[in-house]
């Protein structure tokens, strides 16, 4: 393919089945983790290590952004690719605002129609009661993001900047990753964040820190064929990765078992804590990288098991990530309301978890059926 862009690395062609699979899995995990006090979320990755589904989701978003828009840029030019990115940003924005309205309406419905006054209290404290006009205005500017509505704004900011880095990713990916890590380091050092609402709040997912994992995904999308050089040390890296994952699992499980916790020397805890989520703590980042390395070795882009029918629901959800993400956030609130106000038994927790996943899956199949012909590009 000829192009007027100077490109050092090719954008991989062919479908990488891992992306939809792991993104679908991340979406299920995000849904489950957003239901507090849920025994069913013992299955999610966050219980066994420092990082959680958010890292998976943001990493894959960076990876797929390069694949989709990189190809487009080489074929149709930067302007067109950038315009498509902004169309996507607009879709994300509309989805976020719709989710904000649906989310708030759900709380209003349960509090008024079902007479659950604690929920009215919740709305008021969220900032909608005191000054609803202001809150709505701030929501439009992404500054007011009540409960669990933090991920899409992060994604919107990351994608809005993305067109300007795309040519560089294809030409000088190593420089891009260096710049990305540089920004991460500077952000941590100076404690930068974007402003939120109310005024003293900042972004729960700091975009200037979380961009590091987005660009790790973006750069690996073009450089991964060249990672073969690393395979010379494949065993050493893998041993280190497994050791780190085991260490991380031990620490994470120790939060559940005091007998394990007491085994951790104080000087170790002093190095570990706090494990900051807002600024993507290095421990979380490394945990994700270790996981990704082992998955790279263990799961090929066309591994057979990825095509198994039993995993199709997961892949389908991953294919329609925006819709499923929004639906999952909405349903997690429903599940939370049901569990905390009507029935907090283990059976209820399991029921709402499975019911939510079933609804998400049915919705994904419905969306796939509806989209004819299925969109091949531009889905991130």
């Amino acid at each position: 393919m000829t192009s007027r862009f100077a490109v050092s690395y090719a954008v991989p062609s062919g479908r990488d089945l891992r992306l939809d699979f792991f993104r679908g899995l991340a979406l299920w995990f995000i849904f489950l983790d957003h239901i507090p006090d849920n025994v069913f979320n013992w299955i999610t990755v966050r219980n066994y290590g420092f990082s959680d589904a958010t890292e998976i989701f943001v990493f894959i978003s960076g990876y797929t952004a390069v694949i989709a828009y990189g190809r487009m840029m080489l074929r149709e030019g930067w302007l067109r690719a950038a315009a498509r990115v902004y169309r996507r940003v607009w879709q994300l924005y509309v989805a976020h605002i719709l989710l904000f309205v649906a989310f708030t309406a759900q709380i209003a419905y349960f509090s008024i129609a079902r007479n659950t006054p604690e929920l009215i209290e919740e709305m008021q404290i969220m900032g909608l009661g005191e000054n609803p006009y202001r809150a709505i205005l701030e929501a439009v500017f992404l500054k007011f993001r009540p409960v669990n509505l933090d991920v899409l704004p992060l994604y919107i900011v990351l994608l809005a900047v993305f067109p300007f880095s795309l040519p560089a990713i294809l030409r000088w990916p190593w420089a891009v990753i260096a710049a990305s890590f540089g920004l991460y380091a500077v952000t941590l050092h100076f404690d930068w964040n974007l402003p939120g609402y109310p005024d003293e709040k900042v972004w729960f997912f700091n975009p200037m820190a979380w961009q590091a994992i987005f660009y790790t995904g973006a750069v690996l999308a073009v450089t991964s064929p060249h990672l073969g050089k690393l395979d010379r040390w494949r065993w050493a890296i893998s041993v280190a990765a497994v050791a780190y994952l085991a260490f991380s699992a031990f620490i994470t499980l120790s939060w559940h078992y005091n007998s394990m916790e007491r085994l951790i020397p104080e000087w170790v805890s002093r190095q570990l804590y706090p494990i900051d989520k807002t600024n993507l703590d290095m421990l979380r980042f490394l945990h994700f990288v270790a996981l990704a390395w082992l998955i790279r070795l263990g799961v090929r882009p066309n591994s057979r098991f990825l095509t198994w029918r039993i995993f199709e629901p997961i892949r389908r959800c991953g294919e329609h990530s925006l819709q499923i993400f929004c639906l999952g956030t909405f349903l997690a609130l429903t599940a939370q309301i049901v569990v905390s106000n009507f029935d907090d038994s283990v059976a209820a927790q399991v029921f709402v978890s499975i019911a939510g996943i079933v609804v998400m899956t049915l919705f994904a199949y419905g969306t796939a059926w509806f989209a004819t012909p299925p969109a091949k590009e531009g889905r991130v």
């Binding site: 604690e118 404290i125 009540p146 900042v202 120790s254 559940h256 005091n258 104080e266 805890s269």
Partner: protein
């Protein structure tokens, strides 16, 4: 040890009676309730006050305080104003004590402090001075004070001298005649009693999660009620949970 188990769906939210003793009466807050049917509270502090780590702001301890105190004192207008700013230490909070407390005409200032100062290794003498200065400002504005000390969480327990900061807070509270809400020992008792960190700590190892926030809110309201309405304390507050 005798545990006071407050009426709740969650039986683990508890503290011994002596840990719920603020150690000093709250005459201004008490007078506000008795004479004016009003209690205005400013919750001064950092991320614990802001509610970072809880899944919804409703669970932050100031919001819980608002709910529990309103429910326990029908007819009394309770206002809890959240002035938590994540990441701030004693020095930064003292600097905004006047501008944050004065306009609110507070009867009571709850000052959650110590953790960030300990993490940043603020010298103990300076820490004590900043506490005294902050309390003096608040008192000059006509408010009672309750100091809330550090949280018992992995990031704090791992510090070499976190108990020194708790000790300084107790000393300053005594010296200045303010209440002290001993969050550190209350939470330490949870841990020593077999409650795992995952029950009450957010997974960053520093902040309180939903349970931790709600429980601290409930215990603090019990402690305040005891100081403000001793006659009614034989019964439990009618907490809507």
């Amino acid at each position: 040890m005798a545990w006071s188990v407050a009426a709740s769906a969650s039986p683990e939210c508890r503290a011994s009676q002596e840990l719920l003793d603020l150690g000093h009466p709250l005459p201004i807050a008490r007078k506000g309730v008795a004479d004016h049917k009003e209690m205005r509270i400013v919750a001064m502090g950092s991320s614990s006050t802001q509610g970072y780590g809880a899944s919804t702001p409703q669970f932050s301890y100031p919001a819980q305080l608002q709910m529990k105190l309103s429910a326990a004192m029908p007819g009394v207008a309770v206002h809890v104003l959240n002035k938590g700013v994540g990441g701030q230490d004693a020095e930064e909070e003292t600097a905004r004590m006047k501008s944050d407390v004065q306009p609110e005409h507070a009867h009571l200032v709850i000052w959650q402090v110590g953790t960030n100062s300990a993490i940043r290794r603020m010298p103990l003498a300076k820490f004590a001075d900043k506490l005294r200065a902050g309390i003096d400002i608040g008192k000059s504005l006509g408010a009672d004070f309750v100091l809330m000390n550090l949280q018992y969480v992995p990031a704090v327990v791992a510090l070499p001298d976190e108990e020194e900061y708790a000790r300084v807070m107790a000393e300053v509270a005594k010296e200045k005649g303010t209440g002290l809400f001993n969050r550190f020992d209350i939470m330490r008792a949870w841990y020593n009693d077999g409650m795992p960190y995952s029950q009450f700590v957010f997974n960053d190892g520093l902040h309180l999660n939903d349970f931790g926030q709600k429980c601290i809110g409930k215990l603090l309201s019990n402690a305040i009620l005891r100081a403000v309405k001793p006659a009614q304390l034989t019964g439990e507050p009618k907490a809507a949970e």
